[in-house]
Amino acid sequence: MSTLAVHDHHGVEHHDHDHGHHHKETFITKYIFSQDHKMIAKQFLITGIIMAVIAMLLSILFRIQLAYPDKSFPLLETLLGRFAPGGRLDPNFYLSLVTIHGTIMVFFVLTAGLSGTFSNLLIPFQLGARDMASPFMNMLSYCMFFTASIIMLASFFVQKGPAGGGWTIYPPLSALPKAMPGSAEGMTLWLISMVLFVASQLMGGINYVSTVLNMRTKGMDLWKMPLTIWAFFLTAILGILAFPVLVAGVVLLVFDRSFGTSFYLSEIVVQGQVMNFEGGSPILFQHLFWFLGHPEVYIVIMPAMGISSEVMSVNARKPIFGYHAMVYSLIGITVLSFIVWGHHMFVTGMNPFLGGVFMITTLIIAVPSAVKTFNWLATLWRGNIRFTPAMLFAIGLVSFFISGGITGIFLGNAALDINLHDTYFVVAHFHLVMGSAAIFGMLAGVYHWFPKMFGRMMDEKLGYLHFWLTFIGAYLVFFPMHFMGLDGVPRRYYAFTEIESLKQWLSVNTFITWAAIMSAVAQVAFLFNFFYSIFFGKKATQNPWGSTTLEWTTPVERIHGNWPGELPTVYRWPYDYSKPGAEEDFIPQTTPYSQTMTSNLPHDFEDNPIGLTQYNEWLKTQTVNEEVK
């Protein structure tokens, strides 16, 4: 495989080399329809950040409603008009807010914003490629994503408001425009937006996979790839296999909504009117949705895991513990994630025996997750931890992943799920394990690779402030929700005032809202830091973190084609940090073993018998020399 790739590169290299020097770029080709992987990564990142801010503001809106269900805020009416009559959110608009918050966060921020940014940025950089396999398709991928974002946001401006059936859009609620205002035009826009989004993800994913398989530089075999690349690679495979199923589900839903079919509809009477739907099954949609939906949560978390593995290794100045185990657990998660979707459906009326089977597969997936956690802990053990903001966010990810992952053992258990399904316990669980953990992975990546993206450094102290406020805030928001869920508080309730037993949680709700507002305000520190540093940050050096991977061998100027001369050759794995006997506490992947005789270990030559004999000879001469002395 790698010999093939080397041949390819010679051709590509010369071509791109010339290309970089002679081609004059206009504003449009450089910033809008760019085909350069670095620029596309930045486009994904900034779009993702904007979407994240919007989705965060939506969440603050509904948190205010939950904290003060009886209070009216005239400002809301000024801003939202008919969606907040009398200064109180409309119940249907509340559901729309919840829906769009979830959709944007899961898909537009944590799928496109995270994988889109870092796969595009790091796959060519860390593999030693000049660009993606298909830069044009890469550009199309971003254009589609951007269009999908615009359509999703445009749904706020249609008469009846955006989609409101929850981010899972279960039919018949989403299929019957009569059932709620949010199932009218808003839902149509949601569906169109998602189809475009999936097309974008597929083009991105195919690109990532083909780049990883074909465009690795000389010496970069699969087992020398950083864990980030492994994570992006497996994530892309997951996306390619899972996203089309969502499109299938969505298209059938479009048929049901607009062309009178009954794929998901049967025996329906809406508001006293008997409908002509027969023979469909709402459960079918849930199967199709969760066949994507469950891999989707791993699509969200795996890149974050890869990023934090890399960041933790660099900043603990220590090789990642159990590199092979980390890769195998990623592969394990990838495979298992396709056979656990039924745990979202224990109480939907699915055959209970099937529920039992899904429970078994679900709890098995906890094993690779546990292995990863322990390996991260072992990476920190006896490290020399440098607390950059990126490192703090990576540690925060591990903390969230533990806290949120553990509650997964409750929810994956069908018997316990009876009482916990669709309560705040679920909300707490997934916001910690995939929401907060993934966003922390993303932020770790932003702080860590900011110098690579913009050639400047972000301010560390503002990063510290941002981390601690967000980290503490997220725990204050989501930890109490576990208890609400265990008391049987259902999610997606507009107000807790109508039900006697929920009233005891009103004060907790107010507390959570203020914690959420604090965390939201903390993001100002990040946004200021991010945008200010793009233009006025301290100039970065070539390898500011003392890292071994290839992206730090490129010049700070970020040229087209990435490396000015020949592509670098890789000789070793990416985690030679603090190797005993080495001069510095890191050895770049491009340093051959012949230059680091004092630090070589027999283990380094496991699959290289010639190297091993040379190494043994060198050892012999060393001992002879010592004897002479």
């Binding site: 008997v274 709890l363 703090l392 018997a415 316990l416 008391d487 507009y494 109508e498």
Partner: protein, 397 residues
């Protein structure tokens, strides 16, 4: 370093301008409200907002000043040939402080909020679910506390220093095997325990020799639940969604003779210690029957009948005494997003003694009421005996 630039004159003046404009806006708003109190709501809307915006700016300003002070302090340290602020130490200490504060917070949550959770299970299977829950909790809380302690104490202990090098430890197969196998064993135990609990709960077939469960028909629609009890024959009549109308809300098919004595109820009343089978369906969108006190949940799906069999064990009156709350009621909530009224789609569930249950049952109106009879053009003469009973019941109510 960027703080140097942050608090340069340009930024200062920018802040000044913002503050001034903010204040003038508030003052202007004050002036308008003072001039025409209550006549125009719009300016007063913005007063609160501009107050918070100003507050935010002040906070940002304070953060900037603190950053500047830290920077100056750092520089003085360096002038004195010291190494400046050791941020690794500062962050390491904060990690430790977070760990301690977090553990205290977790303890507080577990004791204070933990006492508000899991209302006493009022059903047979609810008890087994709770046992399962506390077993899982016992195992996971140890892992949770343990790993968080390791994480943050490692962060503190191994905080960076120029004098030290990290320990080169790429892998250790023994320990990796241990921590792959250990969670696998624990999870296997939980899976087996959970699987059998789940099977016993979902096994809804009446066993031989067991008295038949009481069948209750629950139909969800936006945004209410319809309840139907079987009559004397103990059998619920068939339904057909095409027959749904204003008077036949759940679409009972009266060609099925079992339906003729079915009863219509507005609360769910259950006899204590009797097996009950809820037959659940929805008419328009998916709803979910959720009764947290009984640890019971099952979706109501249009076109797909579902059911849940359980045995309530504590009467409402008994529960009121235990909780010392005279107005306590069991509730049925809707727990699947179903539209604007989702949050208020509830129904009272009352568990009573057998005698009270029989008494209550005898007071329920038949589903087949007079209006429905008229619509269906049923001759009273065709069921003389039944109609007599129904008339009597009607008078009683």
């Amino acid at each position: 370093m960027a703080f140097k630039k942050l608090i340069n004159n340009k930024i200062l003046s920018l802040f000044g301008v913002l503050m001034l404009s903010g204040t003038s806006m508030v003052m202007a708003a004050d002036a308008t409200t003072a001039a025409a109190p209550g006549s125009d709501a719009a300016p007063s809307v913005w007063i609160g907002v501009s107050y918070y915006v100003l507050l935010l700016l002040v906070v940002c300003f304070a953060v900037g000043i603190i950053g500047k002070i830290l920077h100056v302090y750092d520089l003085t340290l360096k002038l004195q040939r010291k190494s400046g602020i050791k941020w690794n130490n500062v962050m390491g200490v904060i990690c430790l402080a977070f760990l301690i504060a977090g553990l205290v917070g977790v303890y507080w949550s577990f004791t204070v909020q933990g006492s508000m959770i899991l209302p006493e299970a009022a059903s047979l299977h609810g008890k087994t679910i709770d046992t399962m829950f506390w077993t899982t909790f016992g195992i996971t809380v140890v892992v949770f506390i343990g790993t968080q302690i390791l994480l943050f104490s490692f962060a503190f202990i191994y905080r960076g220093s120029d004098k030290r090098r990290a320990y080169y430890l790429p892998h250790n197969n023994t320990i990796e095997k241990i921590w792959t196998v250990a969670p696998a064993i624990v999870l296997t135990v939980l899976v087996i325990f959970g699987f059998f609990t789940w099977r016993s709960i979902t096994n809804t077939v009446d066993a031989k020799g067991e008295p038949a469960s009481i069948n209750i028909d629950l139909t969800g629609h936006q945004f209410a639940w319809e309840v139907r009890y079987p009559g004397k024959d103990g059998k619920l009549g068939m339904k057909n969604y095409k027959l749904v109308s204003g008077s036949n809300k759940v679409g009972v098919d009266f060609k099925d003779r079992n339906s003729l004595d079915d009863l219509n109820a507005d609360t769910i009343v259950l006899p204590v210690n009797k097996s009950v089978r809820l037959n659940i369906i929805a008419q328009d969108v998916i709803h979910s029957v959720y009764m947290p006190n009984f640890r019971l949940q099952m979706n109501a799906v249009p076109g797909l009948p579902t059911f849940f069999k359980f045995t309530p064990t504590i009467t409402t009156a008994d529960m009121r005494n235990r909780l010392d709350k005279s107005d306590f009621e069991y509730h049925l909530y809707c727990n699947k997003i179903c539209g604007g009224g989702h949050y208020n789609m509830q129904k009272i569930v009352r568990v009573v003694t057998e005698a009270e249950y029989q008494d209550w049952l005898s007071h329920q109106k038949p589903y087949l009421n007079d209006q429905l009879r008229k619509e269906l053009k049923m001759a009273d003469a065709s069921q003389p005996k039944q109609s007599g009973v129904q008339n009597r019941l009607a008078f009683n109510n």
